[in-house]
Amino acid sequence: MDLASNYDIAHTADFIRSRNFTRVALQFPDELLKDSTKVVSALRDELRRESDVEGKGDFRDIGFFVMADTMYGSCCVDEVGASHVDAECVVHYGHTCLSPTSTLPALFVFGKASICVEDCVTSLSGCLLNSEKPILVLFGLEYAHAMQSTKEAMVVESSSLCGSIYKNAIRYADVLCSVMDPKEYRGTSDTQLQSSHCLNANRDCAHCDQMNSGVVGTSYTIGGLMWNLPEGHKMEDYMLFWIGSDNAAFANVVLTYNRCDTVRYDPMENRLVKDVSHIKKIIMRRYYLVEKAKDANIVGILVGTLGVAGYLHMIHQMKELIMGAGKKVYTLVMGRPNPAKLANFPECGVFIYVSCAQTALLDSKEFLAPVITPFEAFLAFSRGRQWTGEYVMEFRDLIAYPSLQVSDKLEEARFSFLQGGYIEDLEPQESGKDVDENERSLNLVEATEKSVQLREKYTHSLVKGEARTGAEFFAARSYRGLDIQSEDSGPRSFVLGRSGKASGYKDEKSSQENM
């Protein structure tokens, strides 16, 4: 496929020109970075050509900036990066989660992955014949370009196969939108953001969905896709047919609709994958992490996005939630988390990663402490809430999530499944008044003092009590500063240090050679 069509050069140029942007940031994921220069020159050419046609010749004013190596997941728009160059808009290439931006308008270019439409349709109709449930077709955004042809081919196929019996039994999701402009949805409150945003997109899509035109029902959106189900239909009633690779977007879909049967058509290998149990296993694993999180005393909130709308709101909400549960919370901004970074905060029992839905699931055995999503934090830290199988990935949906009031305070103690017994929880801190107190600097000193005294009582012991705050944790460490050796305070003789690189100092190299 040629560059111009793959990168949607014409459409992009049109977008830039029609909105009169002069500084444009182009965001590339790592794997597409090699094409960035070609894309820029293609865009310049395109714009020049268009302006030549119109005869204005103002294309020189447009500055293009290529952004790479984004701080967080490459699926989100890096607004902070873009504002470093005072960009007025961002063009995002490649895989995206289509999370709404908070300040800058953005254009998404999904790219066009190759797909064999005929084979896909064969698989789809095969599924349709074997399935008792109606099918809902979802797809990776990089295959959005092929959807129209798939639909058409499917209509032909199904009518040739078995007439119109199955006409109603198949539904297609649509792409939400490819342009995002915060100005358009500014003014509506955050909670309504999602719905107003949908309306905007609906206009484009409604007419192209022939199957459910005119039927008003519940509308669903996930990872940039949206679809409507007629009144009375539940998601569980449908079988999901995913066209695309086994990536984060797919995991997102399977987790969110974990009660639906799901099959995946892999366009790269042209085959149907019916076994998605590895993703169902993820749910079990997440459940374990939630249980583990319940036992944590100190919680770290990892800021995993600075772009997705509503992230600040979410962080505040998390803080309140955690303090309400009587735990200590620290907010950490560290870019994309890795084991080494997180292990620098061994006092944290659990981390909450506030990020877009598709980067939210961080589960590596390498992490010392579990990293959970805000939804899981909701489950873990509001007492009396049980996991019933539903799963919310987008934290924006959580804002509206019914919050459970901790009304029954003399309820039973919390049962920890990790320890197989009741675990006392700390008295919930009264939020508000107490927050100020916690922030006082003296507090740190007091806590330190307390734990120091405590420690001295058990000075011979190798066991430390569990820390409630970071200060307590540090106070309980065995190392508390350099040892001052008072007996030989005289100056030491000069010693030659190591030289060479960290991967192998010079003295080590020689020892290796000796071996």
């Binding site: 019933t388 017994g421 009741y422 960290a502």
Partner: protein, 843 residues
């Protein structure tokens, strides 16, 4: 029907000298529950006629169905003794009324945690031994536990009726059997003797051994017969008692006592002559319906029968006659009242075992003196499901003070540490309840020395706890119970319908509470795990979970899973090194196996992180040959800071070493919990930190750099030290007749078991076989065994030790490698082990 009221009971509760808290303990099927029935019958809770059939204390349907006791059940009984019978009692007493708090416990080894819980709250134990089967493995286990808790035992040789009816042995032979049973029991008791408890061996001539037939509701001690004959011979009772046991022979022809058999036909042992023969005679007469001979005999013995009872025939007649002549309750009661300690006596020496705090504080004193006016000290030993769905009674013993309805109590859980707020609650008691037979009665308060059930605390106590008054903030808890079994068999459970998950969670919570041993946890993979002591235990737990605690919601259970341990065979073949992510820090380590016995010493708590380092280094250097200085350089134990692995610092003169200690420890805790082979716990590995190279800037040697590196280097050193798997092994005891032995050996061989002891029980055709059997092979073992021996062999399995599997898990195709692969698959890990090169770095 119940002859006494709650008020009466409550009144005696204040008379601490007139209380006996006792448990009935024995091997499975030696007749505990049946014998208990006769005691309950005497207290008027069930009719005398059905005593022996009802099994009053088997309250659960499945207990009745299987004929085994599963849960220990407590009953408070009230007896009024006659002045006559108390004449010889020298101890303190107030009046003639006695309160017996009796706990019937299960005999099956899988439920021996119930026995532990029962022993903690009692002061005396009635040890029941089948006169034919003799002292079995579980008899020994429970006796050991009892003595460990400083519980004074008395013995009853049960199932006497078998001697008379089934085996029809003659007197001398029977005597020898009884003598052997008593001797065997005494050998065990002598082994676990405790100076404070004094001589705990039992002697028939002292009245601490009874002979009983629980099924028929009769029993006697030598006291009964001594009383009878004392006047006849004109000697005092105690003299007579001595003559009724041991090497004392009587010849009615010469009317002379000798200490040796004279050889004449009429010369018989005192016991045979005066106890065994008369009983045999009566029984035979009854069984043959020779009523004309019977009535005069009974008259001579002073036994009067009711007129309607005279119409009975055969076995029923025999039962009735024996019950009237030698009622089990009076013989056993007398033995208990005379020879088992009252709470006030027992707590004097038990306090050291019970209380964790200093022996001279007010709490220790209150326990020692059993002071009802002192501060409350109450130990909750188990939780009992209440009829109210989902709620539990907290069942325990008041050791000091009083607990009353509405009282605010401080609940100190098992993880409570004095001075901290961990595992501590203050809640009020809604109701105090005592058990009277099958029903509960509320009482205003319960003073020390008694057992009690509390309502309203179940939401804060998982299994056990120490309760004290709200204000007693400096009280230490009562020592946690030590169980003789451990939960080595696990199943994963899932609900069939995903939306039942909350039900499952709630059910597991309740299950964990209802059983002292079962552990409900969650695996890394998110599966809920139930761990129990054995197959039967798990079966009962799963049934309870589904039927009682989840309201019948369906669950799916996995096959039983056994947890393994990872260890090493040798010292690492070389010092391994790992670099931190930034390459600026290096850790050099070696792994080596811990000395033999050291891992067990850590398990037992003889060596642990809380010890005084001096004491620890003394034990290590004297018993395990450690260097004294090295013993002081132990950084930590793990996993969970107390496990049987450790990190030792062997470095010399390394700068900043202290700074990374915490990070290395954190990495070690993590790694020792999930070993490199299959992410099972490590066991018995000592990691030696040989050298460390650190970056000069603190920022580059922080936790983030060192913790993951420590984990990697630990894995690398494990892999280079010939890693091996340890599998749990049961000690199996099987009792079977000779003809079944072939079948037993066959099954054991097929299941990788090996027999290490085979003894014929003297005087019986039974053989006693002891064998080791891998736990993983034990599923379905009892079924297979029963099939192979046509139901003649019944095994008892108890976890004994961890056994190293000889095959190399690193060698593809070996048995251990296959096991590792299976475990990894189950846990959802990559089937291939992470290679050494991922953990070890080269320079």
């Amino acid at each position: 029907m119940v002859k006494f009221t709650a008020e009466e009971l409550r009144r005696i509760m204040d008379l601490k000298h007139n209380i006996r808290n006792m448990s009935v303990i024995a091997h499975v099927d030696h007749g505990k529950s049946t014998l208990t029935d006769s005691l309950v019958a005497a207290a008027g809770i069930i009719a005398q006629e059905v005593a022996g059939d009802v099994r009053m204390t088997d309250t659960r349907a499945d207990e009745a169905e299987r004929g085994i006791t599963i849960k220990s059940t407590g009953i408070s009984l009230y007896y009024e003794m006659t002045d006559e019978s108390l004449k010889r009692y020298k101890g303190e007493r107030h009046g003639n009324e006695y309160l017996i708090n009796l706990i019937d416990s299960p005999g099956h080894v899988d439920f021996s945690s119930e026995v532990t819980a029962a022993l903690r709250i009692t002061d005396g134990a009635l040890v029941v031994v089948d006169c034919v089967e003799g002292v079995c493995v579980q008899t020994e286990t429970v006796l050991r536990q009892a003595l460990g808790e400083r519980i004074r035992p008395v013995l009853t040789v049960n199932k006497m009726d078998r001697c008379f009816l089934e085996l029809q042995v003659d007197g001398e032979e029977a005597y020898q059997t009884f003598q052997r049973v008593i001797e065997n029991a005494n050998v065990i008791m002598a082994t676990y003797e405790d100076p404070l408890l004094g001589d705990v061996q039992v002697y028939p001539e002292k009245g601490t051994v009874a002979f009983s037939a629980g099924l028929h509701g009769w029993a006697f001690t030598l006291t009964n017969f001594a009383k009878m004959y004392a006047s006849k011979f004109g000697v005092d009772e105690s003299k007579m008692m001595e003559r009724l046991w041991g090497e004392n022979f009587f010849d009615p022809a010469t009317k002379k006592w000798t200490t040796k058999g004279t050889g004449s036909a009429s010369c018989k042992r005192g016991f045979v002559q005066f106890c065994y023969e008369p009983i045999k005679q009566i029984i035979n007469t009854c069984m043959n319906d020779q009523k004309d001979k019977l009535w005069p005999m009974l008259q001579k013995l002073g036994v009067t029968m009711k007129s309607d009872e005279k119409d009975l025939n055969g076995k029923a007649l025999m039962k009735r006659v024996m019950q009237t002549w030698l009622p089990a309750s009076s013989a056993l009661l007398e033995m208990m009242i005379f020879h088992l300690p009252s709470p006030s006596t027992a707590q004097r020496y038990r306090v050291e075992n019970l209380y964790e705090g200093p022996m001279d504080d007010i709490y220790a004193n209150a326990i020692r003196n059993c002071d009802p006016e002192g501060p409350l000290m109450l130990y909750v030993s188990k939780m009992i499901p209440a009829s109210d769905k989902g709620r539990f009674f907290a069942f325990g013993r008041v050791f000091a003070g009083k607990v009353s309805t509405g009282m605010k109590v401080r609940i100190m859980g098992p993880n409570f540490v004095p001075g901290q707020k961990k595992d501590l609650y203050v809640k009020s008691v809604q109701r105090t309840v005592i058990w009277m037979g099958k029903k509960q009665e509320s009482v205003e308060d319960v003073p020390c020395g008694n057992t009690v059930a509390l309502v309203g605390l179940d939401q804060f106590i998982t299994k056990n706890a120490t309760l004290t008054n709200e204000k007693e903030t400096d009280a230490h808890p009562i020592r946690a119970m030590k169980f003789s079994v451990s939960p080595v068999v696990r199943v994963a459970v899932q609900c069939k319908v995903a939306s039942d998950l909350p039900k499952l969670v709630e059910g597991l919570k309740r299950l964990a509470k209802s059983d002292p041993m079962v552990v409900c946890t969650i695996e890394e993979s998110g599966e809920h795990i139930i761990a129990g002591a054995g197959e039967l235990h798990l079966e009962i737990c799963l049934k309870d979970l589904q039927d009682d605690f989840m309201g019948g919601a369906e669950i799916i259970q996995s096959d039983p899973v056994v947890s393994f341990r990872e260890t090493v065979l040798e010292k690492s073949c070389r010092t391994v090194m790992s670099k931190s992510p930034n390459k600026h820090n290096r850790l050099y380590m070696e792994a080596r196996p811990l000395e033999e016995g050291l891992a067990e010493a850590i398990d037992d708590g003889r060596i642990g992180p809380r010890d005084d380092p001096k004491v620890r280094s003394k034990i290590l250097s004297e018993e395990f040959g450690w260097d004294k200085d090295l013993a002081k350089k132990i950084w930590c134990f793990g996993p969970e800071t107390t496990g049987p692995n450790m990190v030792v610092d062997m470095c010399k003169g390394v700068q900043y070493l202290n700074e990374i200690k915490d990070s290395v420890v954190a990495g070690f805790q993590w790694a020792s919990k999930e070993g490199a082979l299959a992410e099972e716990n490590m066991r018995g590995i000592c990691f030696e930190v040989c050298d460390v190279v650190l970056h000069a800037d603190a920022i580059h040697r922080g936790g983030g750099q060192v913790i993951p590196t420590a984990r990697r280097v630990i894995y690398a050193s494990q892999i280079t030290a010939k890693p091996r798997l340890l599998e749990p092994v049961y000690l199996v005891e099987i009792q079977a007749p000779e003809q079944a032995l072939g079948g037993i050996y066959g099954v054991l061989n097929q299941k990788r078991g090996h027999v290490f002891e085979e003894i014929q029980r003297p005087g019986t055709p039974l053989y006693n076989i002891k064998a080791y059997l891998p736990v993983i092979e034990s599923f379905g073992f009892s079924g297979t065994l029963r099939a192979a021996t046509s139901g003649q062999a019944f095994p008892q399995c108890v976890f004994d030790h961890w056994d190293m599997m000889s095959s190399d898990p690193m060698e593809p195709g070996s048995q251990a490698a296959q096991l590792v692969a299976d475990i990894r698959k189950r846990k959802g890990l990559k089937e291939q082990m992470t290679p050494l090169s991922d953990f070890e770095d080269k320079i």
